[in-house]
Symmetry: C2
Subunit: 519 residues, 2 copies
């Protein structure tokens, strides 16, 4: 068993558990702790380092959840096989002003359903008392005053010099891009300069633009189940989509087309080499993998490190492969540290990062952002640089003010506490229910997926619930056409963002009622 | 010569010249005045109807500009050949709540350049004193107070019941669609219900969506020169574009592919008939014609009635043909009545109408709208109904308030006067210049196209001007790749929207300087 000599700095801003986490992580990544090696128990580590047991536990838990360590019951913690699939020394596209991969204690949020659902023009929901639909945010706690102030100041700023009226920057206002880049850097470990950021009116719009940047023919592999809005967008732009099954760690990488490259030969083939993959890529156009590694929708899986590295290796193995990291869900996380982005690990310019303010501010604001690798940025400028920005300048500068004045961070911190309380309340309730077989994605976000232990179909349950005044959505609508659905029982997506604790209890009681009289 | 028995209503809200215009128009459309028939002179008409001579002149001028009458110098006014190309009795898709084709005294506006240009992140324009670039609106006269009030009220409205935070209607907020439909109906003669309106973040976005609705393969014919943003968008979505030459009336209809159908056989072929056109359409997918009939960009041509009817007949001649009417330019018109939209004449659901608030409110607002024929609306719902709106709810409701409170109309009326004064000032100046060969598009919009009488190239002139502190753009950048450029001399696009009269004089003087020393 390796002894860990960690030089903790008690006066540092970084929490002790984070310092331990960081140290062990670096040891593993640097190869100084190798596959299968056993680490001291949490009790022993705490003793050695003179920290509390809970601090040691937290550090280990985070390392386990990110896939660096494996916990064997009764036996302790072991270093995982992260193999040498991915070479961290390559750093082709690192731009000067992004700096190192810094992590700070920040946050993560989720989206849900068709992740943010519209209730219809003359919504038939008036009769419904409660909604478990995913993608609803807490409406009572929005900082209206701060928002109004930001909006007012942004308008006043823009009136000066009549900048309000002039056409905006095609990629989005520079100050907002700068603010987002800085936020992503600190909160998500994303490495980018503001120049790599494109601001657009929603993720679907940005995916359409991306399709134009990449050009036809285009293929994409998606997790199944997944976020169907993205799937339909791919279909609409003529992209051929392949469903890839999931397990509890996320997308099953070995089922991604082109996965069968020899793991011993992971060094990149020279561009002119006639490897079968290269030929395939040239003939078939580009290949994308669309994933949500921080918190998969709808299942909530967090992709462990090993699989992340596998994905990056797959993308790096030949030209024409890219990963879309949809980080829709990264602000509200209730257990452990935020999971850093895949983009931050990428050294070969293979990850396209997508984020949104739909959950962190409001669904109706329609501001998303995309971070392009440098190579694709050039293609963007050439093919899509002529497009006018799709977001109004006033809205952009309002959000910019909101972030720069610290309102955004305060709002996120407040909401994380509020959502955690709702989350804990629902989780405790569900754990007592006989009709709950399994709960997925219960560490983050604004919804959980609940596999049921009952003989009713999803449709029967949602109908029964609606007739009792509860809107609820099944997971079957999240599967890709043609993709395999598992044999498991019905699964409900329970969004709790806009319910109070007592509403959560009442809504859960309605579900009790629905399950009571089975067929 | 036909005597005109017009029953004028002096107490009516409608101006006398409009009543005369309306009467004669109806007589022509109803076939009671036929091709070649000579009308009384303006003097005689004025006498007969007991109106002023200028009233009779105004009515005739409008009828001439819309292509109902032809003026022969020294001989009088004759009814044009509007043939029976297009059957006005078909009214398949008229919806109940749009009512009749009502026209009221309203307005038209233009766009320019890449119609609304962004000056760059670190714009090199600081050194330039003046900008003749098209697409600039008057920044000094914007009703900041009214706008601020609308924004504040919209926010307050939305806070009630937390509607601000809920995801919006995918097609755009209903109250805004209702307000736009009503505006379009009264100001532009557009017949549509709010349900046919899709609000989106800019014309280019809406064209991309339209491409998805129509599906591949897609072909489009465009006027040449044209609005290149639309051309590039078509190219990006895989639409094959054909350049069609223009004359002073706009697109030369006889050069549109598929034009060579027998004019005697204009009755629609039954869907199953094996006409060569039908076969062609099925094999080749859909065919679009993209036009700007109210005020063509960049040349400013107003498409006369005959050509409008020809276009509608072309579209109606077989399945799979649609016309995109980009009415970007319909708010500011300085001579005669506004030219009603092509969409308002369409009875077969062949016209897709596009409009924008970029010129009428501000370029940075990013709100455009598209009116779909009922047939395409169904396809939209099916293929694109899942897309979340691309415009933020706050912005939509701010514009809605701005329109409903009458601020929009007041703003347009005020700006029309302001722009007309600038327009007249520039026109007077240009008419005196030796280097001006011809002026195009001088009745509307925020720019003119000026053909030069000089041996310099466009590039030389724009470079000389820039070195003297004046930004100016040539028209050669508006031609489609592969389309023929005419042999004419260099043409400049002179946008005057954001220049004061004295700035217009100073800028024109710089042009004098540039032309002074020819090669």
């Amino acid at each position: 068993m390796k002894e860990l000599l960690i030089d903790l700095d008690i006066s540092a801003k970084t929490a002790l558990y984070e310092q331990i986490y960081e140290y062990i992580r670096e040891e593993i990544m640097g190869g100084r702790l190798s596959k299968g090696e056993r680490l001291p128990s949490a009790r022993l580590l705490a003793e050695n380092l003179q920290v509390s047991r809970s601090t040691a536990d937290a550090a280990y838990a985070q390392l386990v959840s990110e896939g660096y360590l494996m916990a064997k019951r009764g036996s302790g913690y072991y270093v995982c096989d992260i193999s040498s699939l991915y070479d961290f020394t390559i750093n082709r596209f690192d731009s000067n002003n992004t700096g190192a991969y810094i992590r700070e204690k920040q946050a993560d949020s989720p989206k849900a359903g068709n992740r943010n659902q519209y209730n219809g023009e003359h919504a038939g929901t008036q009769e419904c008392m409660y909604s478990f639909l995913p993608g609803q945010i807490d409406e009572a706690c929005f900082p209206y005053n701060a928002w109004r102030k930001s909006a007012k100041e942004a308008l006043a700023d823009l009136e000066t010099g009549h900048r309000l009226l002039q056409a905006g920057d095609p990629k989005g206002e520079y100050p907002l891009r700068r603010a987002i880049a800085s936020y992503l850097h600190h909160a998500r470990g994303v490495r980018c300069s503001p120049h790599q950021l494109i601001i657009g009116a929603g993720n679907e719009y940005l995916l359409q633009i991306l399709g134009q940047v990449l050009g036809a023919p285009l293929k994409a592999a998606m997790e199944n189940p997944t976020y169907l809005q993205a799937y339909h967008t791919f279909c609409n732009i003529g992209c051929e989509v392949q469903a890839v099954p999931m397990d509890e760690d996320g997308i099953r990488t070995e089922e991604i087309p082109g996965w069968n490259f020899n793991k011993q030969q992971t060094e990149k083939q020279p561009a002119d080499a006639q490897s079968s993959l290269d030929t395939e890529t040239k003939k078939d156009g580009l290949f994308l993998v669309y994933v949500m590694p921080s918190h998969q929708f709808p299942l909530g899986a967090v992709m462990p490190l090993k699989r992340r590295l596998e994905l990056l290796a797959w993308a790096g193995a030949c030209e024409g492969r890219y990963i879309i990291e949809d980080d829709h869900d990264s602000e509200f996380r209730y257990k452990g540290r935020p999971i850093p982005s895949l983009q931050g690990m990428d050294r070969e310019g293979k990850v396209i990062y997508l984020g949104t303010f739909s959950n962190s501010i409001m669904p109706s604001i329609r501001i998303s952002y995309m971070v392009l690798p440098m190579e694709l940025l050039a293609a963007y400028e050439k093919k899509c640089g002529f497009y006018t920005s799709t977001v109004s300048k006033i809205q952009q500068m309002t959000v910019c003010r909101f972030i720069e004045d610290g309102c955004f961070e305060r709002h996120l911190n407040k909401m994380r506490g509020i959502y955690k309380a709702k989350h804990d309340c629902l989780l405790q309730l569900l754990k007592k229910k006989k009709w709950v077989r399994r709960i997925y994605g219960d560490r983050a976000g604004l919804h959980m997926a609940v596999e049921l232990n009952c003989s009713l179909t999803e449709e029967e349950i949602t109908e029964r619930a609606a007739s009792c005044g509860l809107l609820v959505q099944g997971m079957s609508g999240c599967y890709l056409a043609g993709g395999k659905k598992p044999e498991a029982g019905p699964v409900l997506l329970l969004g709790f963002g806009n319910l109070t604790k007592s509403q959560i209890c009442a809504a859960a009681a309605i579900l009790d009622q629905c399950m009571e009289h089975e067929k």
